[in-house]
Amino acid sequence: MSVLDTLTSQTASDRNLTTKRLDPDDWFKPTLDEQPANRTDRDNAVNADDTDSVEPKRWKPPVRRSNLGIKLDGDRVKIEQQWECIVLDVGDGVVSCEMLDLTDESNPSEFAEVYKTEFSEFDRQLLQEGSVFYWSVGQIRKPTGQIRRHSEIRVRRMPALTRTKEAEIARKVQRLGKLIQAQ
Protein backbone atom coordinates (compact mmCIF):
# COMPACT_ATOMS: atom_id res chain seq x y z
CA MET A 1 0.00 0.00 0.00
CA SER A 2 1.43 3.31 -1.05
CA VAL A 3 1.59 6.34 1.19
CA LEU A 4 -1.08 7.98 -0.96
CA ASP A 5 -3.40 4.97 -0.62
CA THR A 6 -2.94 5.06 3.14
CA LEU A 7 -3.88 8.71 3.32
CA THR A 8 -6.94 8.15 1.11
CA SER A 9 -8.15 5.29 3.21
CA GLN A 10 -7.76 7.33 6.39
CA THR A 11 -9.81 10.15 4.92
CA ALA A 12 -12.59 7.79 3.94
CA SER A 13 -12.54 6.34 7.41
CA ASP A 14 -12.85 9.80 8.91
CA ARG A 15 -15.85 10.53 6.69
CA ASN A 16 -17.63 7.53 8.10
CA LEU A 17 -17.67 9.18 11.50
CA THR A 18 -21.16 10.50 12.24
CA THR A 19 -22.35 12.89 14.90
CA LYS A 20 -24.79 11.29 17.28
CA ARG A 21 -28.01 13.32 17.62
CA LEU A 22 -29.90 13.27 20.86
CA ASP A 23 -33.64 12.87 20.81
CA PRO A 24 -35.15 15.80 22.79
CA ASP A 25 -37.21 13.36 24.82
CA ASP A 26 -34.21 11.23 25.66
CA TRP A 27 -31.88 13.93 26.76
CA PHE A 28 -31.89 12.75 30.36
CA LYS A 29 -30.58 9.26 29.48
CA PRO A 30 -26.90 8.71 30.18
CA THR A 31 -24.81 8.28 27.04
CA LEU A 32 -22.62 5.22 26.66
CA ASP A 33 -19.08 5.91 25.59
CA GLU A 34 -18.72 4.52 22.12
CA GLN A 35 -15.00 4.98 21.82
CA PRO A 36 -13.14 1.69 21.21
CA ALA A 37 -11.56 0.17 24.26
CA ASN A 38 -7.79 0.23 24.57
CA ARG A 39 -6.05 -2.35 22.46
CA THR A 40 -5.21 -5.44 24.42
CA ASP A 41 -2.26 -7.70 24.07
CA ARG A 42 -4.54 -10.22 22.39
CA ASP A 43 -4.85 -7.79 19.49
CA ASN A 44 -1.17 -7.31 19.58
CA ALA A 45 -0.74 -11.04 19.39
CA VAL A 46 -2.70 -11.19 16.13
CA ASN A 47 -0.58 -8.47 14.66
CA ALA A 48 2.48 -10.18 15.93
CA ASP A 49 1.97 -12.95 13.34
CA ASP A 50 3.17 -10.57 10.73
CA THR A 51 6.45 -9.98 12.46
CA ASP A 52 9.53 -12.07 12.37
CA SER A 53 9.78 -12.24 16.17
CA VAL A 54 10.03 -15.73 17.58
CA GLU A 55 9.52 -14.85 21.26
CA PRO A 56 6.32 -16.32 22.78
CA LYS A 57 3.66 -13.74 23.78
CA ARG A 58 2.69 -13.46 27.41
CA TRP A 59 -0.94 -12.97 28.26
CA LYS A 60 -1.81 -9.67 30.04
CA PRO A 61 -5.15 -8.80 31.65
CA PRO A 62 -7.28 -6.21 29.80
CA VAL A 63 -7.08 -2.65 31.01
CA ARG A 64 -10.20 -1.84 33.02
CA ARG A 65 -11.83 1.50 32.29
CA SER A 66 -12.34 3.73 35.24
CA ASN A 67 -15.84 5.10 34.44
CA LEU A 68 -17.67 1.89 33.53
CA GLY A 69 -18.47 3.30 30.10
CA ILE A 70 -20.72 6.16 31.27
CA LYS A 71 -19.72 9.49 29.81
CA LEU A 72 -20.08 12.19 32.44
CA ASP A 73 -20.42 15.31 30.35
CA GLY A 74 -21.78 18.73 31.47
CA ASP A 75 -25.22 19.86 32.58
CA ARG A 76 -27.98 19.85 30.00
CA VAL A 77 -30.61 22.57 30.07
CA LYS A 78 -34.09 22.33 28.63
CA ILE A 79 -35.78 25.75 28.31
CA GLU A 80 -39.54 25.60 28.77
CA GLN A 81 -40.31 29.30 28.90
CA GLN A 82 -38.48 32.45 27.95
CA TRP A 83 -39.42 36.10 28.27
CA GLU A 84 -37.95 39.35 27.09
CA CYS A 85 -38.51 41.79 29.93
CA ILE A 86 -38.44 45.56 29.65
CA VAL A 87 -37.76 47.35 32.90
CA LEU A 88 -40.42 49.89 33.81
CA ASP A 89 -39.14 50.91 37.20
CA VAL A 90 -36.45 49.94 39.66
CA GLY A 91 -37.61 50.00 43.25
CA ASP A 92 -35.92 49.18 46.55
CA GLY A 93 -36.21 45.43 46.44
CA VAL A 94 -38.00 44.73 43.19
CA VAL A 95 -37.76 45.49 39.49
CA SER A 96 -41.05 46.24 37.75
CA CYS A 97 -41.09 45.00 34.19
CA GLU A 98 -43.22 44.14 31.20
CA MET A 99 -42.70 40.52 30.17
CA LEU A 100 -43.05 39.58 26.51
CA ASP A 101 -43.43 35.86 25.90
CA LEU A 102 -40.74 34.72 23.45
CA THR A 103 -41.86 31.09 23.63
CA ASP A 104 -45.28 31.94 22.21
CA GLU A 105 -45.63 35.51 20.98
CA SER A 106 -49.41 35.21 20.78
CA ASN A 107 -49.57 35.08 24.58
CA PRO A 108 -50.49 38.33 26.31
CA SER A 109 -47.70 40.35 27.84
CA GLU A 110 -47.47 40.43 31.61
CA PHE A 111 -46.47 42.81 34.34
CA ALA A 112 -44.24 41.50 37.11
CA GLU A 113 -42.27 42.73 40.08
CA VAL A 114 -39.11 40.60 40.10
CA TYR A 115 -36.99 40.47 43.25
CA LYS A 116 -33.59 42.10 42.74
CA THR A 117 -31.95 39.12 44.39
CA GLU A 118 -32.74 37.12 41.25
CA PHE A 119 -30.15 39.18 39.36
CA SER A 120 -26.41 38.73 39.51
CA GLU A 121 -24.42 41.55 41.12
CA PHE A 122 -23.05 42.62 37.75
CA ASP A 123 -26.49 42.69 36.17
CA ARG A 124 -28.01 44.60 39.06
CA GLN A 125 -25.84 47.59 38.22
CA LEU A 126 -27.30 47.68 34.71
CA LEU A 127 -30.91 47.79 35.85
CA GLN A 128 -32.68 51.01 35.05
CA GLU A 129 -35.89 52.14 33.40
CA GLY A 130 -35.86 50.93 29.80
CA SER A 131 -33.18 48.27 30.14
CA VAL A 132 -33.93 44.79 28.84
CA PHE A 133 -33.33 41.38 30.38
CA TYR A 134 -34.08 37.83 29.34
CA TRP A 135 -35.59 35.32 31.72
CA SER A 136 -35.37 31.63 30.92
CA VAL A 137 -37.13 28.97 32.96
CA GLY A 138 -36.84 25.22 32.49
CA GLN A 139 -35.09 22.11 33.75
CA ILE A 140 -31.45 21.24 34.17
CA ARG A 141 -30.07 17.69 34.15
CA LYS A 142 -26.99 17.08 36.16
CA PRO A 143 -24.38 14.58 34.90
CA THR A 144 -25.65 12.13 37.49
CA GLY A 145 -29.11 12.18 35.92
CA GLN A 146 -30.64 14.35 38.63
CA ILE A 147 -33.20 16.87 37.35
CA ARG A 148 -33.60 20.30 38.88
CA ARG A 149 -35.63 23.40 38.12
CA HIS A 150 -33.69 26.08 36.29
CA SER A 151 -34.10 29.86 36.17
CA GLU A 152 -31.68 32.26 34.57
CA ILE A 153 -31.87 36.03 34.20
CA ARG A 154 -29.45 37.97 32.02
CA VAL A 155 -29.51 41.70 31.38
CA ARG A 156 -28.91 42.68 27.78
CA ARG A 157 -25.93 44.89 27.00
CA MET A 158 -26.89 47.37 24.30
CA PRO A 159 -24.27 48.14 21.67
CA ALA A 160 -23.07 51.71 21.43
CA LEU A 161 -23.61 53.55 18.16
CA THR A 162 -20.70 53.69 15.77
CA ARG A 163 -19.46 57.01 14.43
CA THR A 164 -20.65 55.99 10.96
CA LYS A 165 -24.14 55.34 12.25
CA GLU A 166 -24.17 58.62 14.16
CA ALA A 167 -23.19 60.50 11.01
CA GLU A 168 -25.90 58.69 9.04
CA ILE A 169 -28.51 59.70 11.61
CA ALA A 170 -27.33 63.31 11.55
CA ARG A 171 -27.77 63.41 7.74
CA LYS A 172 -31.25 61.93 8.01
CA VAL A 173 -32.25 64.45 10.67
CA GLN A 174 -31.07 67.26 8.41
CA ARG A 175 -33.21 65.94 5.53
CA LEU A 176 -36.26 65.61 7.79
CA GLY A 177 -35.75 69.13 9.13
CA LYS A 178 -36.02 70.44 5.57
CA LEU A 179 -39.31 68.60 5.06
CA ILE A 180 -40.81 70.58 7.93
CA GLN A 181 -39.26 73.89 6.92
CA ALA A 182 -40.63 73.36 3.39
CA GLN A 183 -44.09 74.36 4.65
Binding site: N107, V114, G130, V137, I180
Partner: protein
Protein backbone atom coordinates in the same frame (compact mmCIF):
# COMPACT_ATOMS: atom_id res chain seq x y z
CA UNK B 1 -61.82 43.49 4.07
CA UNK B 2 -63.20 42.60 7.46
CA UNK B 3 -61.52 43.79 10.64
CA UNK B 4 -61.37 41.85 13.86
CA UNK B 5 -63.42 43.95 16.19
CA UNK B 6 -66.49 41.84 15.64
CA UNK B 7 -64.76 39.22 17.81
CA UNK B 8 -64.96 41.52 20.78
CA UNK B 9 -68.66 42.20 20.57
CA UNK B 10 -70.90 39.93 22.56
CA UNK B 11 -73.82 38.49 20.64
CA UNK B 12 -76.37 40.42 22.66
CA UNK B 13 -74.78 43.66 21.60
CA UNK B 14 -74.18 42.94 17.95
CA UNK B 15 -77.36 44.53 16.62
CA UNK B 16 -76.07 47.93 15.55
CA UNK B 17 -72.42 47.18 16.04
CA UNK B 18 -71.09 47.56 12.54
CA UNK B 19 -73.31 50.42 11.37
CA UNK B 20 -71.20 53.37 10.34
CA UNK B 21 -72.13 56.80 11.71
CA UNK B 22 -74.24 58.95 9.45
CA UNK B 23 -72.91 62.18 8.00
CA UNK B 24 -74.80 64.17 10.64
CA UNK B 25 -73.52 62.11 13.56
CA UNK B 26 -70.56 62.91 15.81
CA UNK B 27 -68.94 59.77 17.11
CA UNK B 28 -66.31 59.31 19.80
CA UNK B 29 -65.00 55.76 20.09
CA UNK B 30 -62.50 55.03 22.85
CA UNK B 31 -60.29 51.94 22.67
CA UNK B 32 -58.26 50.91 25.70
CA UNK B 33 -56.98 47.35 25.90
CA UNK B 34 -55.36 47.61 29.34
CA UNK B 35 -52.14 49.35 28.39
CA UNK B 36 -52.82 51.61 25.47
CA UNK B 37 -55.27 54.13 24.24
CA UNK B 38 -56.77 55.26 20.96
CA UNK B 39 -59.64 57.64 20.26
CA UNK B 40 -61.40 57.75 16.93
CA UNK B 41 -63.69 60.68 16.26
CA UNK B 42 -66.14 61.04 13.40
CA UNK B 43 -66.58 64.78 12.85
CA UNK B 44 -69.37 64.40 10.31
CA UNK B 45 -69.41 64.00 6.53
CA UNK B 46 -67.01 61.05 6.67
CA UNK B 47 -64.13 63.00 8.24
CA UNK B 48 -62.32 61.04 10.95
CA UNK B 49 -59.76 62.29 13.46
CA UNK B 50 -57.53 59.80 15.23
CA UNK B 51 -55.96 60.54 18.60
CA UNK B 52 -53.09 58.19 19.52
CA UNK B 53 -52.95 54.53 18.59
CA UNK B 54 -53.01 51.13 20.26
CA UNK B 55 -53.28 47.50 19.31
CA UNK B 56 -55.32 44.76 20.89
CA UNK B 57 -53.63 41.53 21.94
CA UNK B 58 -53.37 39.18 18.99
CA UNK B 59 -54.05 41.90 16.43
CA UNK B 60 -51.53 42.94 13.85
CA UNK B 61 -53.35 46.12 12.85
CA UNK B 62 -54.02 49.21 14.94
CA UNK B 63 -57.41 49.29 16.67
CA UNK B 64 -58.52 52.32 14.64
CA UNK B 65 -57.89 50.63 11.29
CA UNK B 66 -59.59 47.39 12.33
CA UNK B 67 -62.62 49.28 13.59
CA UNK B 68 -63.07 51.29 10.41
CA UNK B 69 -62.80 48.14 8.33
CA UNK B 70 -65.47 46.49 10.43
CA UNK B 71 -67.68 49.49 9.70
CA UNK B 72 -66.88 48.92 5.99
CA UNK B 73 -65.19 52.29 5.79
CA UNK B 74 -62.04 52.58 3.71
CA UNK B 75 -59.54 54.15 6.11
CA UNK B 76 -57.32 55.36 3.26
CA UNK B 77 -59.18 58.61 2.80
CA UNK B 78 -61.36 58.59 5.91
CA UNK B 79 -58.74 59.58 8.49
CA UNK B 80 -57.79 63.21 7.93
CA UNK B 81 -55.62 63.82 10.97
CA UNK B 82 -53.64 61.79 13.44
CA UNK B 83 -52.57 63.30 16.73
CA UNK B 84 -49.83 61.77 18.86
CA UNK B 85 -50.62 63.39 22.21
CA UNK B 86 -47.27 62.35 23.66
CA UNK B 87 -44.53 59.78 23.12
CA UNK B 88 -45.35 57.04 25.63
CA UNK B 89 -45.47 53.65 23.99
CA UNK B 90 -48.97 52.86 25.20
CA UNK B 91 -50.21 55.77 23.06
CA UNK B 92 -48.21 55.29 19.85
CA UNK B 93 -48.34 51.56 19.10
CA UNK B 94 -49.33 51.17 15.44
CA UNK B 95 -49.10 54.89 14.70
CA UNK B 96 -46.69 54.39 11.81
CA UNK B 97 -49.03 51.85 10.23
CA UNK B 98 -51.98 54.26 10.40
CA UNK B 99 -49.92 56.85 8.54
CA UNK B 100 -48.88 54.33 5.91
CA UNK B 101 -52.47 53.13 5.42
CA UNK B 102 -53.76 56.70 5.34
CA UNK B 103 -51.25 58.61 3.20
CA UNK B 104 -53.41 61.75 3.16
CA UNK B 105 -53.60 61.95 6.95
CA UNK B 106 -51.50 64.64 8.58
CA UNK B 107 -49.73 63.99 11.84
CA UNK B 108 -49.55 66.41 14.74
CA UNK B 109 -47.30 66.04 17.76
CA UNK B 110 -46.63 68.12 20.85
CA UNK B 111 -44.90 71.39 20.15
CA UNK B 112 -42.64 70.63 23.07
CA UNK B 113 -40.93 68.13 20.77
CA UNK B 114 -40.30 70.65 17.99
CA UNK B 115 -36.85 70.71 16.47
CA UNK B 116 -34.28 68.35 15.10
CA UNK B 117 -33.24 67.21 18.53
CA UNK B 118 -36.33 65.05 19.00
CA UNK B 119 -35.79 63.36 15.63
CA UNK B 120 -32.19 62.67 16.55
CA UNK B 121 -33.16 61.16 19.90
CA UNK B 122 -35.76 58.95 18.23
CA UNK B 123 -33.40 57.63 15.56
CA UNK B 124 -30.55 56.99 17.97
CA UNK B 125 -32.68 55.12 20.49
CA UNK B 126 -34.42 53.14 17.75
CA UNK B 127 -31.05 52.14 16.31
CA UNK B 128 -29.87 50.88 19.69
CA UNK B 129 -33.04 48.91 20.28
CA UNK B 130 -33.21 47.19 16.93
CA UNK B 131 -32.27 43.89 18.52
CA UNK B 132 -35.09 44.04 21.05
CA UNK B 133 -38.32 42.38 19.99
CA UNK B 134 -40.65 44.62 21.98
CA UNK B 135 -41.66 47.72 20.08
CA UNK B 136 -41.19 51.06 21.71
CA UNK B 137 -41.90 54.73 21.23
CA UNK B 138 -38.61 55.14 19.41
CA UNK B 139 -39.41 52.28 17.05
CA UNK B 140 -42.78 53.76 16.08
CA UNK B 141 -41.52 57.30 15.56
CA UNK B 142 -38.44 56.08 13.73
CA UNK B 143 -40.65 54.13 11.32
CA UNK B 144 -42.68 57.27 10.68
CA UNK B 145 -39.53 59.29 10.01
CA UNK B 146 -38.16 56.51 7.79
CA UNK B 147 -41.39 56.54 5.79
CA UNK B 148 -41.34 60.32 5.38
CA UNK B 149 -37.68 60.22 4.45
CA UNK B 150 -38.39 57.58 1.78
CA UNK B 151 -41.28 59.38 0.13
CA UNK B 152 -39.99 62.91 0.78
CA UNK B 153 -43.27 63.91 2.36
CA UNK B 154 -43.54 67.52 3.44
CA UNK B 155 -45.02 67.90 6.88
CA UNK B 156 -47.97 70.17 7.53
CA UNK B 157 -47.86 73.58 9.24
CA UNK B 158 -50.05 72.16 12.00
CA UNK B 159 -47.47 69.49 12.78
CA UNK B 160 -46.53 70.93 16.17
CA UNK B 161 -49.55 71.28 18.44
CA UNK B 162 -49.66 74.06 21.00
CA UNK B 163 -52.40 75.74 23.04
CA UNK B 164 -54.94 77.39 20.74
CA UNK B 165 -53.75 75.80 17.48
CA UNK B 166 -56.59 74.48 15.28
CA UNK B 167 -55.72 70.95 14.18
CA UNK B 168 -58.74 70.36 11.95
CA UNK B 169 -61.65 72.32 10.49
CA UNK B 170 -64.44 70.89 8.36
CA UNK B 171 -66.75 67.96 9.00
CA UNK B 172 -70.48 68.44 9.61
CA UNK B 173 -71.60 71.57 7.75
CA UNK B 174 -68.07 72.85 8.20
CA UNK B 175 -68.80 73.42 11.89
CA UNK B 176 -66.38 70.83 13.22
CA UNK B 177 -63.12 71.94 14.80
CA UNK B 178 -60.42 70.28 16.78
CA UNK B 179 -58.28 72.68 18.79
CA UNK B 180 -55.23 71.93 20.92
CA UNK B 181 -55.44 73.05 24.57
CA UNK B 182 -51.88 72.17 25.48
CA UNK B 183 -48.93 72.26 25.84
CA UNK B 184 -48.71 75.81 27.09
CA UNK B 185 -46.07 78.17 25.65
CA UNK B 186 -44.21 78.08 28.97
CA UNK B 187 -44.12 74.28 28.89
CA UNK B 188 -42.69 74.37 25.38
CA UNK B 189 -40.01 76.89 26.33
CA UNK B 190 -39.13 74.92 29.43
CA UNK B 191 -38.88 71.62 27.56
CA UNK B 192 -36.46 73.05 25.01
CA UNK B 193 -33.85 73.67 27.66
CA UNK B 194 -33.37 70.02 28.56
CA UNK B 195 -35.35 67.89 26.16
CA UNK B 196 -32.88 65.01 26.34
CA UNK B 197 -32.99 64.65 30.11
CA UNK B 198 -36.77 65.08 30.18
CA UNK B 199 -37.36 62.38 27.60
CA UNK B 200 -34.55 59.92 28.12
CA UNK B 201 -33.05 57.92 30.92
CA UNK B 202 -29.64 59.09 32.07
CA UNK B 203 -27.39 56.11 31.49
CA UNK B 204 -25.32 55.36 28.40
CA UNK B 205 -27.98 52.91 27.22
CA UNK B 206 -30.62 55.52 26.66
CA UNK B 207 -34.30 54.82 26.43
CA UNK B 208 -37.49 56.83 26.64
CA UNK B 209 -38.90 57.51 30.06
CA UNK B 210 -42.28 55.95 30.51
CA UNK B 211 -44.18 57.81 33.16
CA UNK B 212 -43.10 61.39 33.17
CA UNK B 213 -43.38 64.18 32.41
CA UNK B 214 -46.91 64.37 31.08
CA UNK B 215 -47.28 68.15 31.06
CA UNK B 216 -46.11 68.03 27.41
CA UNK B 217 -49.23 66.06 26.41
CA UNK B 218 -51.67 67.50 23.89
CA UNK B 219 -55.20 67.75 25.31
CA UNK B 220 -57.77 68.76 22.70
CA UNK B 221 -61.25 70.18 22.45
CA UNK B 222 -63.61 68.93 19.75
CA UNK B 223 -66.52 71.05 18.53
CA UNK B 224 -69.16 69.83 16.08
CA UNK B 225 -72.57 71.46 15.79
CA UNK B 226 -73.65 72.12 19.35
CA UNK B 227 -71.62 69.28 20.84
CA UNK B 228 -68.28 69.73 22.61
CA UNK B 229 -65.84 67.06 23.72
CA UNK B 230 -62.83 67.41 26.02
CA UNK B 231 -60.11 64.83 25.43
CA UNK B 232 -57.62 64.96 28.28
CA UNK B 233 -54.79 62.80 26.85
CA UNK B 234 -52.33 62.10 29.69
CA UNK B 235 -52.09 65.71 30.76
CA UNK B 236 -51.24 65.97 34.43
CA UNK B 237 -51.74 68.58 37.07
CA UNK B 238 -48.34 69.30 38.56
CA UNK B 239 -49.47 72.31 40.57
CA UNK B 240 -47.45 74.96 38.74
CA UNK B 241 -49.43 77.84 37.22
CA UNK B 242 -48.22 77.71 33.66
CA UNK B 243 -48.02 73.95 33.23
CA UNK B 244 -50.44 71.07 32.82
CA UNK B 245 -54.14 71.59 33.56
CA UNK B 246 -53.49 74.86 35.37
CA UNK B 247 -52.17 76.34 32.14
CA UNK B 248 -55.24 75.08 30.25
CA UNK B 249 -57.55 76.78 32.74
CA UNK B 250 -55.59 80.06 32.73
CA UNK B 251 -55.12 80.25 28.98
CA UNK B 252 -56.32 83.31 27.03
CA UNK B 253 -58.03 80.92 24.61
CA UNK B 254 -60.47 79.66 27.27
CA UNK B 255 -62.76 82.69 27.66
CA UNK B 256 -64.98 81.83 24.70
CA UNK B 257 -65.44 78.17 25.49
CA UNK B 258 -68.71 76.40 26.02
CA UNK B 259 -68.59 73.52 28.42
CA UNK B 260 -68.02 70.05 27.06
CA UNK B 261 -70.64 67.27 27.06
CA UNK B 262 -68.20 64.37 27.20
CA UNK B 263 -64.75 63.89 28.69
CA UNK B 264 -61.99 61.41 28.03
CA UNK B 265 -60.57 61.34 31.53
CA UNK B 266 -56.89 62.32 31.60
CA UNK B 267 -54.08 59.88 32.37
CA UNK B 268 -56.18 56.79 33.02
CA UNK B 269 -58.02 58.47 35.87
CA UNK B 270 -54.95 58.94 38.05
CA UNK B 271 -55.12 61.40 40.95
CA UNK B 272 -52.19 63.47 39.66
CA UNK B 273 -54.11 64.26 36.48
CA UNK B 274 -57.26 65.28 38.33
CA UNK B 275 -58.19 68.93 38.68
CA UNK B 276 -61.45 69.92 40.31
CA UNK B 277 -61.59 73.16 38.36
CA UNK B 278 -61.53 71.25 35.06
CA UNK B 279 -64.80 69.57 36.00
CA UNK B 280 -66.29 72.85 37.13
CA UNK B 281 -65.11 75.16 34.35
CA UNK B 282 -64.65 73.04 31.24
CA UNK B 283 -67.36 70.39 31.59
CA UNK B 284 -71.14 70.33 31.78
CA UNK B 285 -72.58 69.05 35.06
CA UNK B 286 -72.65 65.25 35.10
CA UNK B 287 -70.90 64.75 31.76
CA UNK B 288 -70.31 61.43 30.03
CA UNK B 289 -66.81 60.37 31.09
CA UNK B 290 -64.70 57.58 29.65
CA UNK B 291 -61.54 56.23 31.23
CA UNK B 292 -59.02 53.76 29.82
CA UNK B 293 -57.11 51.45 32.18
CA UNK B 294 -53.34 51.22 32.55
CA UNK B 295 -52.14 47.92 33.95
CA UNK B 296 -48.35 48.21 33.69
CA UNK B 297 -48.29 48.99 37.38
CA UNK B 298 -48.50 46.89 40.52
CA UNK B 299 -51.77 48.70 41.26
CA UNK B 300 -53.30 49.39 37.84
CA UNK B 301 -55.08 52.63 37.02
CA UNK B 302 -57.72 53.67 37.71
CA UNK B 303 -57.49 52.52 41.31
CA UNK B 304 -60.60 52.02 43.44
CA UNK B 305 -60.08 55.45 45.00
CA UNK B 306 -59.74 57.00 41.51
CA UNK B 307 -63.04 55.46 40.49
CA UNK B 308 -64.74 56.70 43.67
CA UNK B 309 -63.38 60.20 43.15
CA UNK B 310 -64.52 60.41 39.51
CA UNK B 311 -67.90 58.91 40.32
CA UNK B 312 -68.32 61.70 42.83
CA UNK B 313 -68.29 64.09 39.87
CA UNK B 314 -70.34 62.18 37.35
CA UNK B 315 -72.69 59.25 37.41
CA UNK B 316 -71.88 58.45 33.80
CA UNK B 317 -68.40 56.94 34.07
CA UNK B 318 -67.45 54.22 31.58
CA UNK B 319 -64.31 52.14 31.22
CA UNK B 320 -63.11 50.44 28.04
CA UNK B 321 -61.89 47.26 29.76
CA UNK B 322 -62.69 46.03 33.23
CA UNK B 323 -61.16 44.65 35.36
CA UNK B 324 -57.86 46.31 34.47
CA UNK B 325 -55.82 43.16 35.00
CA UNK B 326 -56.24 39.41 34.97
CA UNK B 327 -54.35 36.36 36.17
CA UNK B 328 -51.34 35.32 34.11
CA UNK B 329 -51.40 32.20 31.98
CA UNK B 330 -50.83 28.97 33.86
CA UNK B 331 -47.79 26.95 32.77
CA UNK B 332 -47.04 23.71 34.50
CA UNK B 333 -43.49 23.54 35.79
CA UNK B 334 -42.93 27.24 35.22
CA UNK B 335 -45.35 28.96 37.57
CA UNK B 336 -43.64 27.71 40.71
CA UNK B 337 -40.29 29.20 39.76
CA UNK B 338 -41.79 32.48 38.60
CA UNK B 339 -43.91 32.78 41.75
CA UNK B 340 -40.82 32.42 43.96
CA UNK B 341 -38.94 35.08 42.01
CA UNK B 342 -41.70 37.68 41.83
CA UNK B 343 -43.58 39.80 44.32
CA UNK B 344 -46.56 40.29 42.02
CA UNK B 345 -47.52 39.36 38.49
CA UNK B 346 -50.53 39.86 36.23
CA UNK B 347 -51.54 39.92 32.59
CA UNK B 348 -51.39 43.37 31.02
CA UNK B 349 -53.77 43.18 28.11
CA UNK B 350 -57.31 42.77 29.24
CA UNK B 351 -60.19 41.61 27.13
CA UNK B 352 -61.20 43.55 24.07
CA UNK B 353 -63.58 46.32 24.81
CA UNK B 354 -64.45 49.82 23.75
CA UNK B 355 -66.93 52.61 24.39
CA UNK B 356 -68.79 54.37 21.59
CA UNK B 357 -70.71 57.63 22.01
CA UNK B 358 -72.80 59.12 19.21
CA UNK B 359 -74.57 62.48 18.96
CA UNK B 360 -77.09 63.58 16.32
CA UNK B 361 -75.67 66.93 15.24
CA UNK B 362 -78.96 68.07 13.69
CA UNK B 363 -80.45 68.50 17.16
CA UNK B 364 -79.89 71.61 19.24
CA UNK B 365 -79.27 69.65 22.44
CA UNK B 366 -78.44 66.14 21.31
CA UNK B 367 -78.61 63.33 23.86
CA UNK B 368 -75.49 61.13 23.83
CA UNK B 369 -76.07 57.53 22.82
CA UNK B 370 -73.51 55.48 24.75
CA UNK B 371 -72.78 51.92 23.61
CA UNK B 372 -70.51 49.44 25.37
CA UNK B 373 -68.78 46.59 23.54
CA UNK B 374 -66.81 43.59 24.72
CA UNK B 375 -65.30 44.10 28.18
CA UNK B 376 -66.38 47.76 28.43
CA UNK B 377 -68.46 48.59 31.51
CA UNK B 378 -70.17 51.42 33.30
CA UNK B 379 -68.39 51.90 36.63
Amino acid sequence: MQGKFSDSVSSSRRNNWSVAPKDHELELTVFGPGAGECLLIHLGNGDWFCVDSCKYQGSTSPAAIEYLMDLRIDPTNAIKRVLATHWHDDHVRGLSEILRVCPEAKLAISSALAGDQFFQIVLEVAEQRKLVSGTSTATEFAEILEYWDQIGKTIGPDFYAIDGLPLFEGGFQDTSRVVALSPSPDTVTHSKTDLVSRLLTSSATRSFKRFRPNDLSVAVRVEAGSVKLLLGADLENNGAGNFGWNAVLLSDHRHTLHKADAFKVAHHGSSNADHEQVWASLLQPNPVAVVTPYSKLASPLPTDSDVSRIKGRTTQLYCTTWPQKSKPLRRQGVDGIVAMATKSRHTIAGKRGFVRIRFDLRELSPVPNVELFGAAVQL
